[in-house]
Amino acid sequence: MDEIPILKIRDCLLVSIQVDMHDRLALALQDDLTNRIVESRARGVMIDISALEIVDSFIGRMLNNIAGMSRVLDAVTVVVGMRPAVAITLVELGLTLTGVRTALNVDKGLAMIRRIIDAEEGGGAGRSE
C-alpha cells in the first residue's frame, strides 16, 4: 500500500501529500503522524496540500483531527499551499476548518510555526524538558 512520507526538519515534521488519497491512506497518515510527533518530540507539523486537487469532508476531517491531536501532544499544525479552487469549494461545502492554522506556502508556514513555538516558550507555557 502507498505511504505518505513524513520528513523531519529540526523540530518540525513535514508532510507533502502528492497523491489522490483514498480514505484508508488518509487514516493511516493521521495515525503515522501522531506516532511520529511523540517519537520525535516534534513541536511543529506542516502539511503541504498544494498537490491536492480537492479537499472533501473526509480529508477536511483528517486535517482537523491531525491539528487537534498535535495540539494535545504540544505541537502546532499548519496546513500550507491550498489551491484557490479548493478554498472556494471548501467554504461552499460548509467546511471551515476551524482549529486548523493555514499559511500560503511552506516558507510562511515554517515562519508561523517558529513564531508560535517561540511565543509559547517565551511565555513559559512551552514543554518542560
Binding site: 489522490d20 488519497m21 483514498h22 480514505d23 484508508r24 486537487e53 480537492i54 479537499v55 472533501d56 469532508s57 473526509f58 477536511g60 476531517r61 489551491r83 484557490p84 479552487a85 479548493v86 472556494i88 469549494t89 461552499e92 461545502l93 460548509g94 467546511l95
Partner: protein
C-alpha cells in the same frame, strides 16, 4: 435533453471513490468546465460516492455529459440498493450524521451543484442525482 456521452462505473470501495473522482474530473474537463467548477463537481461526487460505499453498501455511478443549446453540463446518478434514508429531511441537515462523518455530505454536495435530488425510502435503496452546468 441530449446526452453526449455516458458511462457507468462501480462504486463499491474506497478505491472506486478515487476512480469516480478521476472520471468526473475527466468529463468536466472535456465539457469545458472552469477549474473552480471542476473542483466543485468532483468534490460533490466524492461526498456522494463515499455515502454510496459507507451507507448504501456500494452501488453504481452513471456519468453523463449533457448539452442544452450552448450549455454543457455533467450529470451524476449514484444508485445503491442499501437500507435507504429513513428521514430525508434530517439527512439533508448540515451537521447531521448517522455515521462518524461531519454530516456535510448531502447538504454540502447540494450546495456545490446546480441540480440535486435524492430519492430514497427505507429498505429501497437511494438514488442521488446531481448536475452542474458550465
Amino acid at each position: 435533453m441530449p446526452v453526449e456521452a455516458s458511462e457507468t462505473m462501480p462504486v463499491q470501495s474506497g478505491d472506486d471513490v478515487v476512480r469516480v473522482r478521476q472520471a468526473v474530473r475527466a468529463r468536466a474537463v472535456a465539457a469545458g468546465f472552469s477549474l473552480v467548477d471542476q473542483t466543485k463537481i468532483v468534490t460533490a461526487a466524492s461526498e456522494i460516492a463515499r455515502n454510496t460505499v459507507d451507507y448504501g453498501g456500494g452501488g453504481t455511478l452513471c456519468l453523463e455529459v449533457l448539452r442544452e443549446g450552448a450549455r454543457r453540463g455533467v450529470r451524476l446518478t449514484f444508485a445503491d440498493s442499501g437500507p435507504g434514508i429513513a428521514d430525508l429531511e434530517q439527512a439533508m441537515t448540515d451537521g447531521y450524521t448517522s455515521g462518524n462523518g461531519l454530516g456535510l455530505g448531502l447538504s454540502g454536495a447540494k450546495r456545490l451543484c446546480n441540480e440535486f435530488s435524492v430519492k430514497s425510502a427505507r429498505d429501497q435503496g437511494t438514488i442521488v442525482t446531481l448536475a452542474r452546468w458550465r
